[in-house]
Symmetry: C2
Subunit: 232 residues, 2 copies
DNA sequence: CGAATACTTGATAGTCCTCAACTCAAGTGG
DNA sequence: CCACTTGAGTTGAGGACTATCAAGTATTCG
């Protein structure tokens, strides 16, 4: 197994430039940039939902827990994504940084009262985010309910690759996953062992190549991967 | 096994009264009431999303299919619920009537352009529906990804009972399910055999009672059922 | 360089699916 | 009104897939 060529690798996710307008908002008062360490919480399930957030760099995972500790990861949020948007009084998910991350916090009143929102565009983004999240959740339900471990894993790789391509503009040779096998497992409704075995299986089939750096995965045959993903 | 007392049974779902204002909307032109027969489509995945709908009576299921026919039911919509709301050009789900149903159709422009919407309240309902659907989808993901067949089934019964109670105001003795075992299975990510076995198991445990009319289920011990549902 | 962590691999078990037969309820036609 | 048909639901046996438990290996970080 050869080490993936570093120069052709796409970093996942890209750093979002902090624009002048974003900075202006930050300084205006209602918003603030926050640094979040690896595995650190942005907010926890059940807490009062006072703010919502935008990812500036890094990746945020939102998840729910059952009382006995079983976890389901709802989504991974990459730079540009909003998260922590709630209809009710409290957060219904926990949000944590997958690695080091920067997020920008927005006071919630901006959502409740669009007329007084500092930025009308932001209010629109909030509604748009809800719709996009709903679409993703619906797509994820069929994965969780009806796909096999192989199909889940293939779908995951395709999905992550697509997000990387979208951020950079062109297909990349190597996928640099920001999250651990445990995160992947809890996202796909599997165990870490099954994720590991399935990736090995995909490597043996020549579809992917696992590098020495375990979170780097080279996609050797995207169309084969897409076939395995069990499309709608 | 005794037959459930009919007089104490709650019909699921209740008929929503057609209010004067609703009728006025209908006659105004942009909307129209439509009768949908059992298992008949309201719209299909991939069709242009020209309208969205409100359930007046009966139950509508929205679902997605994989290419090989595996199905995942996203949600059951009861009277008062909106469905068929899309961000993009096409429906991403198929909507069918579980039994006989009546739905009211709204032209989509009302959503795209809230300023020209006949009813501003409706535009707000549309956004609210998206948020509620997102919350339900997130709750459903942990069920699909992390719960056992027993926990899934118990959760389903509790959920359906809660919706019935909400519609009538008080807890009912008997749950009259409008959907088949196949629908339940495709909603929970199980097979019909597993659903059937699990219900039998719950009956043997004295938690529920299955009547001769198979879709009527009497809840004998709601707290036991809630315990089995594996709460957050 | 060593310890801790992340990941992989193996053996085994359990849950749920598949295939098949059977029961039951409801609807049909004589 | 009843036998027949049909579809829905139940039950059983066996098997496949994934989880669990347990090492073992590799990588990362101090």
């Amino acid at each position: 197994m050869q080490v993936a060529a570093v120069q052709s690798a796409l970093v996942f996710p890209p750093i979002l430039p902090v624009s002048a307008s974003t900075l202006r908002q930050e300084m205006r008062g209602p918003t603030a940039i926050r640094l979040v360490g690896k595995d650190e919480e942005v907010f926890a399930e059940g807490e009062p939902a006072t703010h919502y957030f935008k990812v500036m760099s890094g990746v945020i995972r939102t998840s729910k827990l059952l009382c006995d500790g079983r976890r389901q990861i709802d989504a991974f949020h990459v730079p540009g994504d909003l998260f922590g948007i709630e209809r009710g009084a409290d957060y219904r998910m926990t949000a944590e940084a997958v690695g080091e991350a920067r997020v920008i916090a927005y006071r919630r009143c901006a959502l409740d009262n669009p007329a007084t929102a500092a930025d009308q565009t932001l209010a629109r983004d909030v509604v748009m985010t809800a719709f996009v999240n709903l679409e993703r959740a619906q797509e994820h339900m069929i994965l969780l309910g009806r796909k096999s471990a192989l199909e889940k894993t293939a779908t995951f790789l395709i999905e992550m690759a697509a997000r990387m391509d979208g951020a950079r503009g062109a297909p990349a040779a190597t996928l640099e996953l920001p999250m651990s096998r445990a995160d992947i497992a809890d996202y796909l409704g599997l165990t870490i062992e099954t994720v590991s075995r399935t990736l090995t299986q995909l490597e043996r089939a020549g579809v992917i190549a696992l590098s020495a750096v375990r979170r780097n995965i080279r996609l050797r045959n995207r169309s084969a991967l897409a076939d395995l993903a069990a499309a709608g």
